[in-house]
């Protein structure tokens, strides 16, 4: 194994042993092989950049590199946008450690020397972020390489295998060229993704969010702090922001839009599907710290005369996230709330049973203008998972769910 700190400034010679210059950078061509070092760049004493191709490398060690061809056969092209240069694009840059779900800054890069029968190949193994790597960077060039190895061998190392490294590239065009995909990130839990996002700069956040599918993006945005939500949605195009907000629960969507500058928020709403936009607009009318501001309008509402069968049908056809359904709500013809049926009771009842018979007693609800404290106390006193919100005439407007209340309580603490 050899470190980049040992490779940098390595003297390079051609096949005849003539001095070429010092190693300046290594490049990987991700469109061919994302582990192989495809080009070695050498800076000549006359400040010319030589480009040694993979097949032209004969031997390489901590002492020197030698090519298998003579100097005149070596080209001199500078690295293009489609190559990952170790020094320019990896060293000292932030990367995402997909395995540990963390953002880290690269301190050193580990390579493997693989002698083939004709040439020698350098393969990237891992990026190094440990104390040993930091010490190598500090001592690089000040002591002999074997001394540095000796000194740093007692220090702890931390490496991230190259396959778990996700580079962060804000420029979408270059991202495509470098074949950086955030598909692995999309498999992470949105809460972990949110933690990762919080470590990134604004442009980098945008690049990650833009590459995720709308649903994952929405779940992730729901998990980050309000301040970041605002900054992030502000930096996206209104169209993309609308796609994401559409996928969020209406109450969360309303909360975010409330925080955005009025123009931006109106623009996002205008770009949303009419139906979703309408739901969010209704919620925007309520005061932030009241039951109305807390509630969601995604819930299952049935006529009071309905049966268990129709309730189960309604759950099957529910368009929102199904795991948030704890109860179904019964209303009379004039839309007043007349009953709440916990989902568990549906499971044990006969399919023809009238829902009215299964309704929990008493019917608990809060008016939309009730303050946060009242809502929290209701949840605590009655061990609720969901609480219906009604207007002054008892008509059902929405439902406050336990997860939102939990968030409130935590925030108050």
């Amino acid at each position: 194994m050899i470190y980049f700190t040992e490779l940098e400034n390595l003297p390079a010679h051609d096949a005849k042993g003539e001095y070429l210059g010092r190693l300046a950078d290594l490049a990987i061509n991700p469109s061919q092989n994302s582990f192989q070092v495809a080009y070695l760049y050498v800076m000549t004493p006359r400040k010319k950049l030589l480009c040694i191709e993979r097949e032209q490398l004969s031997t390489i060690s901590v002492r020197a590199a030698q090519t298998s061809v003579s100097a005149d056969q070596i080209g001199c092209s500078a690295p293009d946008e489609g190559l990952i240069c170790i020094k320019k694009d990896v060293l000292d840059q932030q990367i995402i450690d997909v395995n540990n779900r963390k953002v880290v800054r690269v301190i050193d890069v580990d390579f493997d020397i693989q002698p083939d029968h004709k040439h020698t190949e350098l393969r990237i193994i891992a990026v190094n972020v440990g104390t040993a790597a930091a010490a190598r960077r500090l001592l690089q060039g000040l002591f002999a390489k074997h001394r540095i190895r000796m000194i740093t061998s007692i220090l702890p190392t931390r490496t991230i295998p190259w396959e778990f490294v996700s580079l962060i590239e804000p420029d979408p065009a270059r991202r495509v060229k470098l074949r950086i995909s955030y598909s692995r990130l999309a498999q992470l839990h949105p809460a972990d993704l949110a933690d990762i996002l919080e470590e990134l700069s604004r442009d980098e956040q945008r690049s990650v969010i833009e590459s995720l599918d709308d649903e994952t993006a929405a779940e992730t945005v729901s998990e980050i702090t309000t301040r970041m939500q605002v900054a992030l949605l502000n930096s996206l195009s209104a169209g993309k922001a609308a796609d994401i907000v559409e996928q969020m629960a209406p109450d969360e969507a309303a909360d975010v839009l409330q925080e955005l500058p009025p123009e931006t928020s109106a623009e996002v709403l205008a770009n949303m599907e009419a139906e979703e936009a309408e739901e969010v607009r209704e919620l925007l009318g309520f005061e932030e710290n009241t039951a109305g501001g807390l509630m969601t309008t995604e819930f299952i509402e049935l006529q009071e005369t309905a049966t268990v069968e129709s309730a189960i049908d309604a759950i099957r056809n529910f368009s929102g996230p199904i795991e948030t359904i704890h109860s179904v709500f019964l209303t009379a013809a004039n839309l007043t709330l007349t009953g709440v049926v916990p989902v568990a009771r549906l499971l044990v009842a006969d399919k023809d049973t009238a829902l009215q018979e299964l309704a929990a007693d008493p019917i608990l609800s809060v008016p939309f203008h009730a303050d946060e404290k009242t809502v929290i106390n209701k949840f605590r006193n009655y061990n609720l998972l969901a609480l219906p919100v009604v207007d002054d005439n008892g008509r059902l407007l929405g439902v406050v769910t336990a997860d939102d209340v939990l968030e409130l309580v935590v925030k108050e603490k």
């Binding site: 060293l91 800054r105 930091a134 960077r137 442009d203 900054a231 930096s235 500058p261």
Partner: protein
């Protein structure tokens, strides 16, 4: 759609930009105000006590220089969304960043010591022993940040800025001769005296410090201020810089109107100045002056360690942020807590003369650090790949390079005077 009458749209546009301004307000004003810390107040007091109104004019060029320097990092924060330490690490590598961060730690440790010393001497005027005021202040400061969220902390900081008003009041209570003050403000004069030159260098040095570059850019980046809103953010910076100078102005005026006039022009500390005000301007002015000193010391003692911890973690790649728990960001909290404890302890354990080496060390580190920070700022601010259309224009570059070179030259001069006093006048 219904169209609003022109007057209304204009009013609404004005209202929107006011709202945006209020949302980006903070980083500039807070950063600038921390410059008026214990050391700053002392320097201004001495300037007023020794030279009366004569040096007031220096505040105008100092304000301009401060604005030029701070505007660049604020712009970089808004355009790149990254902190200055981040950019330096990405551009100049690990070793350079590491060295700068060590220097920053040394500088700000010394500064923290002088903040706690300022708090101790300010509170002693209210007959509170330093063995009470320093630990109490340290605990307050630690809890404010460690247990708060970024937003609440920023609000407390902004509120603390209001207390600088006490200097304005004590300035008026000192009943200065406003005509002489006006003359001193608008007629630049330099005497041949080297003492006066060093006084001016001291004024520059206390106003323009390296840590503020890191802190301002990082807070602007973290606040997620967009390039489009940068115009408002620039006002935040400019207003902050002007506020600093206004406060400095009134401190100098208060001391000029009293201590300078009285003829006993020697003061040995900021608290000394407050004490000297008492017989000359009355108990109220003196108490307000001392209160301002306590507030400024406490304010700076909380921001300096915080800014240092942020910057070091950012540059070296450790997790940071007051929204994180201590076990999630151990290095960040260790640095923050360590600076407060070591800063407070130095004041409690060491006598005043024994604190001098720490302060000296910190000023040396500051003198080495500042040129690097200014030059890196200028070079980064000219990078097209980073700044695009927002990079420095040619005219601005001429002004900015000149400003920075003057600041660097003055800083180095001060440094040389410390070590080789025999070689320069």
């Amino acid at each position: 759609m219904r169209t609003l009458p022109l007057k209304w749209t204009r009013l609404r546009r004005w209202r929107t930009s006011l709202l945006i301004f209020l949302s980006v307000l903070g980083p500039g004003i807070i950063t600038a105000n921390v410059n008026n810390d214990a050391g700053g107040i002392y320097t201004y007091s001495v300037a007023g006590a020794r030279y009366g109104y004569a040096l007031l004019w220096t505040l105008i060029p100092i304000t301009v220089a401060l604005i030029i320097v701070q505007e660049m990092v604020a712009r970089m924060g808004a355009v790149t969304g990254k902190g200055l330490a981040d950019l330096i690490r990405e551009e100049y590598g690990f070793r350079m960043t590491f060295i700068l961060m060590i220097l920053l730690l040394l500088t700000n440790w010394g500064n923290t010591v002088s903040e706690f010393a300022g708090l101790a001497s300010g509170m002693s005027l209210f007959h509170v022993s330093r063995f009470v005021s320093v630990p109490l202040g340290a605990i307050m400061v630690w809890f404010l940040v460690a247990r708060g969220t970024y937003r609440s902390v920023e609000k407390v900081f902004l509120a603390a800025c209001v207390f600088y008003g006490s200097y304005l009041i004590s300035g008026f209570l000192a009943e200065p001769d406003w005509k002489s003050a006006a003359v001193g403000t608008f007629t630049p004069r330099m005497s041949a005296s080297t003492d006066e030159l060093y006084m001016i260098i001291g004024l520059v040095g206390t106003t323009i410090a390296p840590w503020q570059q890191f802190y301002l850019q990082a807070t602007i980046a973290e606040k997620g201020i967009k390039v489009e809103n940068y115009a408002q953010s620039r006002w935040d910076v400019i207003i902050g810089c002007i506020l600093v100078s206004v406060v400095a102005y009134f401190i100098i005026v208060a001391c000029a109107a009293t201590i300078f006039i009285s003829g006993h022009r020697q003061i040995n500390g900021a608290a000394d100045a407050a004490l000297a005000l008492k017989p000359l301007a009355g108990g109220a002015a003196s108490a307000l002056f001392a209160l301002g000193l306590c507030n400024a010391s406490l304010f700076a003692a909380s921001i300096l360690p915080l800014a240092t911890a942020y910057t070091v973690c950012e540059g070296l790649g450790f997790e940071s942020g007051i929204d994180k728990r201590p076990h999630e960001a151990p290095v960040f909290y260790s640095l923050y807590t360590g600076l407060i404890i070591l800063g407070g302890l130095a004041v409690l354990v060491l006598s005043e003369s024994r604190q001098v080496p720490i302060i000296l060390l910190s000023q040396v580190a500051n003198g080495i650090l500042l040129p690097f920070v200014l030059i890196f700022t200028l070079r980064l601010c000219n990078r097209e790949d980073l700044m695009g259309p927002y990079r420095n224009t040619r005219t601005f570059n001429i002004i900015a390079w000149t400003t920075c070179i003057v600041i660097i030259a003055l800083t180095l001069l001060l440094l040389i005077r410390f070590f080789l006093p025999d070689y320069i006048p």
